[in-house]
């Protein structure tokens, strides 16, 4: 089934630890995104990638890094997790070259940093 997968589904992490959230899409979309969702704040863009090999900063990039080595994968890394990074993380993709502008979202990763 085409779509976006994220792993892990949930994770409890000690502060200071390194963590990589995985995201894979099989729709051959050129653009991918990472958002965090926090109560009362909606979804905020962390990083994005318009095409393989390029990345850009979103609204809240500090403490996070991404890479886009190929079209399908877009991992998000927390180099040294802090409690304020406790959140639900969503990966999304789109193919704006087709003009639809619709973003497709993964099921999310619930991260708790203690």
């Amino acid at each position: 089934i085409a779509g976006i997968t994220q792993a892990p589904t949930s994770q409890i992490l000690a502060a200071g630890r390194r963590m990589t959230l995985r995201c894979t899409q099989d729709m051959r979309h050129n653009a991918m995104y990472w958002y965090r969702q926090d109560l009362g704040l909606g979804l905020r863009l962390i990083h994005y990638s318009n095409t393989a090999g390029t990345t850009g900063k979103g609204e809240v990039p500090d403490g996070y890094s991404v890479s886009r080595a190929n079209t399908d994968d877009f991992p998000l890394t927390l180099a040294s997790a802090v409690p304020s990074q406790t959140s639900v993380y969503f990966c999304a993709s789109s193919d704006y070259r087709k003009g639809s502008n619709e973003q497709f979202f993964g099921p999310g990763t619930r991260l708790t940093v203690l």
Binding site: L41, G42, L43, L45, N101
Partner: protein, 114 residues
């Protein structure tokens, strides 16, 4: 700065009653407009979108929204809600010419009671 405002954080309504979820935006450039729905413990799903053309847009599950440029609004409506419509609803915009970076509102929790 561009922003999206959803004034109602929660909207309680009885089953079969009509509902309107409000969304206003501010932008110095043209925008594309979206409504997404998030069911409990799931990712976001596109309800409907306005790119151009008719200002009344129909989406899935009987929802519709009307783009009002003069009032910079994109309110979501449904004439008769069901229990299954209980979810979080997010309004979002894309700035025309800025690829696909979505700017989200803070969300409205629709709670439908029997």
């Amino acid at each position: 700065a561009q922003s999206v405002t959803q004034l109602d954080s929660q909207v309680p309504v009885f089953e079969e009653a009509p509902v309107e979820l409000r969304c206003n935006y501010s932008s110095s450039v043209s925008v594309y407009l979206f409504w997404y729905v998030q069911y409990p413990n799931q990712g976001l799903q596109l309800l409907l979108k306005y790119l151009s053309g008719s200002t009344l847009v129909k989406g899935i599950n009987g929802f519709e929204a009307e783009f009002n440029k003069s009032q910079t609004s994109f309110h979501l409506r449904k004439p008769s809600v069901h229990i299954s419509d209980t979810a979080e609803y997010f309004c979002a915009v894309i700035l025309v010419g800025d690829t696909d970076k979505l700017i989200f509102g803070t969300g409205t929790r629709l709670q439908v009671f029997p």
